[in-house]
């Protein structure tokens, strides 16, 4: 029913008379927004909750969308804000550190069944280090890395979504990868 309409038309329709038109926008963007939240937060449960809250926040503030930016930019901005809020909330929880450690242990155990015994632990450790390194990047750099790797967006798409010049996207990604390298010193060089 809504498949042929653009995001902007769907949003206008949702504001006017058809709230279900917003459901089509959710279906179009749910994987990417979930990927963005996962890349920003590094945990599946938090990413799922943040994406859910981001979509609900977008729907509740649907009337505030003025059409000056693209719907994708608007959704990304809401999702990034939601991720930052989730991070702040998690930081205030005193048991965060313990939970994270338990979570990582579970993940290693689950991953162990899927890969060969020789490199399973190594790979899991690498992932933990990469996740922590990405999580420690400044938000503007982390966002570009996640959009490129997790959402598989082109430089031009990232530029349009974040409303920044194309050269800024490239230089941010280059800076982010350079900073990541210095944070990943613990990774064995034979990676890949």
């Amino acid at each position: 029913m809504f498949a042929d309409l653009t995001d902007e038309k769907l949003l206008a329709l949702a504001v006017d008379s058809e709230p279900e038109a917003f459901g089509e926008i959710v279906r179009r963007w749910e994987r990417k927004i979930f990927a963005l939240c996962f890349g920003m937060l590094g945990r599946e449960d938090e990413a799922r909750d943040a994406a859910q809250e981001a979509f609900v926040a977008a729907y509740r503030n649907i009337a505030n969308f003025r059409g000056e930016a693209k719907v994708s930019s608007w959704l990304h901005r809401i999702a990034v804000n939601q991720c930052l809020t989730t991070k702040r909330r998690a930081k205030t929880r005193s048991e965060e550190f313990l939970d994270e450690e338990r979570h990582e242990e579970d993940r290693v155990f689950v991953a162990a069944a899927a890969y060969s015994p020789s490199n399973q632990t190594e790979q899991a450790e690498r992932n933990v280090i990469v996740r922590q390194a990405v999580g420690s990047l400044p938000v503007d750099l982390r966002q570009v890395v996640v959009m490129k790797e997790f959402e598989d967006m082109t430089f031009q798409e990232i530029s349009d979504t974040l409303e920044i010049p194309l050269s800024t996207v490239k230089s941010r990604l280059y800076t982010a990868l350079k900073q990541l390298r210095s944070k990943l010193e613990r990774l064995p060089m034979e990676i890949g």
């Binding site: 504001v15 709230p19 279900e20 917003f22 459901g23 959710v26 749910e30 994987r31 979930f34 990927a35 996962f38 890349g39 599946e44 799922r48 994406a51 859910q52 979509f55 609900v56 729907y59 509740r60 503030n61 649907i62 009337a63 505030n64 993940r107 991953a111 790979q123 899991a124 690498r126 992932n127 280090i129 990469v130 996740r131 390194a133 990405v134 890395v145 490129k148 790797e149 997790f150 082109t154 430089f155 050269s167 490239k170 230089s171 990604l173 280059y174 982010a176 990868l177 350079k178 990541l180 390298r181 990943l184 990774l187 060089m189 990676i191 890949g192």
Partner: protein, 235 residues
């Protein structure tokens, strides 16, 4: 180093990421690869960010790709109030009187409000009158009785001499005899004569604090009485 050049002179950062993510235009690709073979600095930078990129790629592949996309539930009834169209105050007022029942209710409410305002106004004006009636005559500026001053007016000739002297020019001052000279500062405190004037009813004769003269106390004093008794005793 690139053919003896400093590594920083390459400035290939943006091209490096574009090449790694396969977004470098085909025309630039060959030139970049040629440069990469020739420049050890750029090769080192390329290797450095390739390791980072691969780490993120593997993290994504191992932990995110296997995850199923969750189902997101949107509460369609909970939309922001701001989304509702705004109604102007005139339309809201019209809505109030749209039906006869509403019109009657609005009229009744207006009547109650009008009565309440009237009652409040009457109460206020009555209490204001009461307060005005209680104000003493003495504090009313318009009722000062000028016909009965309590302090006598000092006559004009009793003004300090220095005033006249101060008004004279420098030359005139010198021409005055030394014995007649009065220093302005001293003259300022010259005691006016105690000559009393008859109280008048003129508005210009309003008592002034500077002109107050203490009347002489002629009442009988205790010391005089005692002196009188002593004198009589030894007579």
């Amino acid at each position: 180093m690139r053919n003896g050049k400093d590594m920083n002179s390459c400035l290939f950062g943006e091209e490096l990421v574009a090449y790694i993510y396969d977004e470098l235009p085909t025309s630039d690709r060959a030139a970049f690869e040629e440069h990469l073979l020739d420049c050890s600095g750029c090769t080192a930078k390329f290797a450095e960010i390739s390791v980072s990129r691969l780490g993120v790629f593997e993290w994504h592949r191992d932990e995110f790709v296997p995850l199923a996309t969750p189902t997101f539930v949107i509460p369609y009834q909970g939309r922001n109030v701001a989304a509702e169209p705004k109604i102007s105050w005139i339309d809201a007022l019209r809505g109030l009187v749209a039906s006869p029942m509403r019109l009657a209710a609005a009229g009744g409410a207006m009547a109650i409000i009008a009565v309440a305002f009237g009652f409040a106004f009457l109460s206020f004006s009555k209490s204001a009158r009461d307060i005005q009636a209680r104000v003493p005559v003495a504090v009313e500026g318009s009722r000062v009785d000028l016909a009965a001053p309590t302090v006598a007016k000092v006559e004009s000739e009793s003004q300090p001499v220095a005033i006249n002297i101060a008004k004279t020019t420098k030359h005139e001052y010198r021409s005055v005899e030394r014995s007649q000279r009065v220093h302005p500062v001293v003259a300022k405190f010259a005691v006016p004569s105690r000559k009393m004037s008859i109280p008048t009813t003129s508005a210009t004769n309003v008592p002034r604090l500077g002109n107050y003269v203490e009347p002489e106390d002629t009442s009988l004093r205790l010391a005089d009485l005692m002196a009188d008794i002593d004198t009589k005793e030894f007579e």
